[in-house]
Amino acid sequence: MKKASAVLLVLVLTVSALTGCKKRETQPAPSAGPAAAKAPTGKVEGKIGISVLTLTNPFFIDIVKAVEDEAKKNGFEAIVTSSEFDPAKQRDQVKDFIVKKVNAIILTPADSKAVGTAIKEANEAGIPVFTADIASLAEDAKVVSHIATDNYAGGRQAAKAMMEALGNKGKVAVLDFPVVESVILRTRGFEDELKESKSPIVIVGKWNGKGVKDEGFKVAQDILTAHKELDGIFAINDPSALGAYAALEKAGRAGKVVLIGFDGQLEGKKAILEGKIYADPIQFPDLIGRTTVQTIMKYLDGAKVEPQILIPPSLYHKADAEKDPALSAK
């Protein structure tokens, strides 16, 4: 039994060493008395818990980095977690935030409906909840403010870029992903802009590219087979645009069909620099992160905050890519 206990001890010590490597929190303990003056830098004023959809997508990594940075500027500590698409895991993370008594919670819901019970639990504990990028659609779950890209305006910008690239004529296809609210808005913006500016451009159809490269590639191949006269493709994000580009190359039609993407991830920006994608309405994840933290600060200061704050995207062409420091670094 001695050996047994020794092995157990080693196991537990290993676990402890591994799990205990993170910082202990420095909890400010303001005394019950007149409110202290603003804390000097370096002292933690409070905590913000954030649970994002996934940390495998650079978009959310940018949001998280901006949140951490902006929180630090305000003397707050950000506690970062990721649901990795599992709404039950996200709810556990919110429960842990409640135990840790964070001052505010930022969520990008793993499921716009299932997130409701987690938000309600935070509401009951008196912790304000903010959503970034993806909205909560759950009823009677109170979200103070939702901060996201103006996807509808982005869709309109994409249509403008398409008209400009095609000389306002021709046939286009849309690589869609109609299960995500933000994407539905992009597509609607694209269609509305073409309609309202009475463009002669015809949309030959919308296909589900599921927002990923391999599916975009397969679907775009079928589109190209079915439509020999196609002039342009609007893909609702960069991965599906790049998948479509691979299909264009394979069909020998690269350069003949104009490609418009969305997002402005590094890979997409590189493709714009190389002329593979004509232009992207680009999102500003860092701005979303910063604005979210600033909104939290405003809220904690007692100022009124808007229930929805939309960050307009902007069109990004090859000329922008040539000047982009993010691309010239390599």
């Binding site: 993170k22 019950a32 977690t81 039950a88 409701g116």
Partner: protein, 456 residues
């Protein structure tokens, strides 16, 4: 006396041999209790009494006080109790603010304009953490002289707080329930990879039935129970099907259940059209979020009942012995009259049905069903079983060991979140812990020798 002590010693040794992992669990709990030692403070009426007493001592008589509380039940209790307490003590109450910082700011500006600026603020701890109160002199210079009273703190581990311990149990309940069935399957030397997909399938099927057949958001309680039972039965049937593949056609369990995993997941996506189904009554959360006896969550009670039943079945009944015999040596079991095929069918059916129940619990916790539920859960479930000391080669294992294994996983996950370990690192640690547990098990079988050795 000596004989008695000897018997007790033997029982103790057997307990340690069967449930040695409980020490790992206890050590983890001790470790996280120390690591999460933190400043705590009372809430609700207790906090109010403390703050009122403090205020009576230090506030000059004749000054008015404002009561501030955040949203939520505890906060309303605080406000009510504090108001009553101040009035009893003869302190003038300038007002009560229940809500968010902007409500307080409006109230302070209004009182200031009316020349009735309060001299003191009695706040819940949560509200006292608002920057508006902490930096009140900077944000509202007019209120700079105000005294803020909030509950006194003491030190206590975050980990050992009642609501955290309940959260630990709550996060593991689905995995622990499914792990009961998995333990039985693994004891027969099988494996069931389909449980994660069955959780999603059951969640989608239950919510879809409620939406389409039981009247959506207006469904009655009986209707919901029937729909959930139907989903559980359907998952049981899937389990029976896997069992038939294993017994009748000798398909390896790994392959048979891998196939069912894909079928169940695909069916879940098809039934739900890739979306989450939320047109269900809000009261569906009775099972997953409600409480009953002594304020204990229903999920916890359900889990405890299932574990007791399964433990008694496996350790006290002929059926339990058949399960062990089938896994220990199938041929020998068959020759000695164990209905091996029916036993295997039974364990896969139970495993499927419990996965279905897990899906129902998850639906209830999240008030909706989606095909994305249960992602990778089969691996967590298997990990819980293996960490709990059940041997993948069959014939050995304990139901309660699995419960301990499930709690070890939950405590590590919760503890890592509380101590702020990154999510990537969390998976690495979890993986290493599972490996260490299995190594420990192997060493135990070899009688704590690193090399060879058959005797134990």
């Amino acid at each position: 006396m000596a004989g008695n002590r000897g018997r007790m010693g033997a029982a103790g040794r057997r307990f340690i041999a069967d449930y040695g992992m409980i020490f790992v669990l206890l050590l983890l709990c001790v470790y996280y209790s120390v690591a999460t030692l933190n400043v705590q403070y009372p809430t609700g009426s207790e906090a109010a009494r403390q703050v009122v007493a403090e205020c009576r001592e230090r506030l000059p008589s004749g000054d008015a006080a404002l009561i501030v509380a955040h949203h939520g039940q505890d906060a309303s209790d605080f406000a009510r109790e504090a108001e009553a307490g101040l009035k009893a003590a003869g302190v003038e109450v300038a007002g009560v603010v229940l809500g968010d910082p902007s409500a307080l700011r409006l109230e302070l500006e209004r009182l200031g304009a009316a020349g009735r600026a309060p001299k003191a603020i009695l706040a819940t701890r949560e509200a006292a953490e608002w920057r508006l109160i902490r930096n009140i002199g900077e944000i509202l210079p007019a209120s700079s002289g105000v005294s803020v009273f909030c509950p006194e703190s003491h030190r206590w581990p975050d980990f050992l707080k009642r609501n955290n311990l309940l959260a630990v149990a709550d996060r593991i309940v689905v995995i622990a329930i499914v792990a009961i069935g998995m333990t039985m399957v693994i004891i027969t030397a099988g494996i069931d990879l389909s449980v994660g997909s069955l959780i999603a399938f059951s969640a989608v099927m239950a919510t879809r039935l409620i939406r389409d057949a039981a009247g959506a958001a207006n469904a009655s309680a009986a209707g919901m129970v029937l729909c959930c039972l139907a989903a559980i039965v359907a998952c049981g049937i899937v389990g029976v099907f896997s069992g038939l593949m294993v017994t009748l056609f000798s398909v390896p369990p790994f392959i048979a259940t891998l196939a069912m995993m894909l079928v169940a997941s695909g069916t879940a996506y098809t039934l739900a059209a890739g979306q989450s189904i939320y047109e269900v009554p809000a009261s569906i959360d009775r099972l997953g979020r409600g409480t009953s006896l002594f304020g204990l969550p229903n999920t916890l009670i359900l889990m405890a009942v299932l574990y007791v039943v399964a433990h008694v079945m496996m350790s006290r009944t002929a059926l339990g012995r058949y399960v062990y015999a089938t896994g220990g040596n199938r041929e020998a079991a068959r020759l000695s009259g164990v209905p091996v095929r029916r036993v295997i069918l039974f364990v896969y059916a139970v495993c499927g049905a419990l996965a279905g129940l897990g899906g129902v619990v998850q639906t209830s916790q999240l008030q909706s069903g989606a095909p994305t539920y249960g992602l990778m859960y089969e691996l967590y479930v298997i990990a819980a079983v293996v960490v709990g000391g059940t041997s993948l080669s069959g014939g050995q294992g304990k139901i309660l060991g699995t419960l301990i294994g499930a709690f070890i996983i939950a405590v590590i996950q919760n503890g890592m979140n509380l101590t702020g370990v990154e999510s990537y690192t969390q998976n690495i640690i979890l993986g290493l812990v599972i490996l260490a547990a299995v190594l420990l098990d192997k060493l135990k079988q070899r009688g704590w020798r690193l090399r060879g050795g058959e005797s134990g």
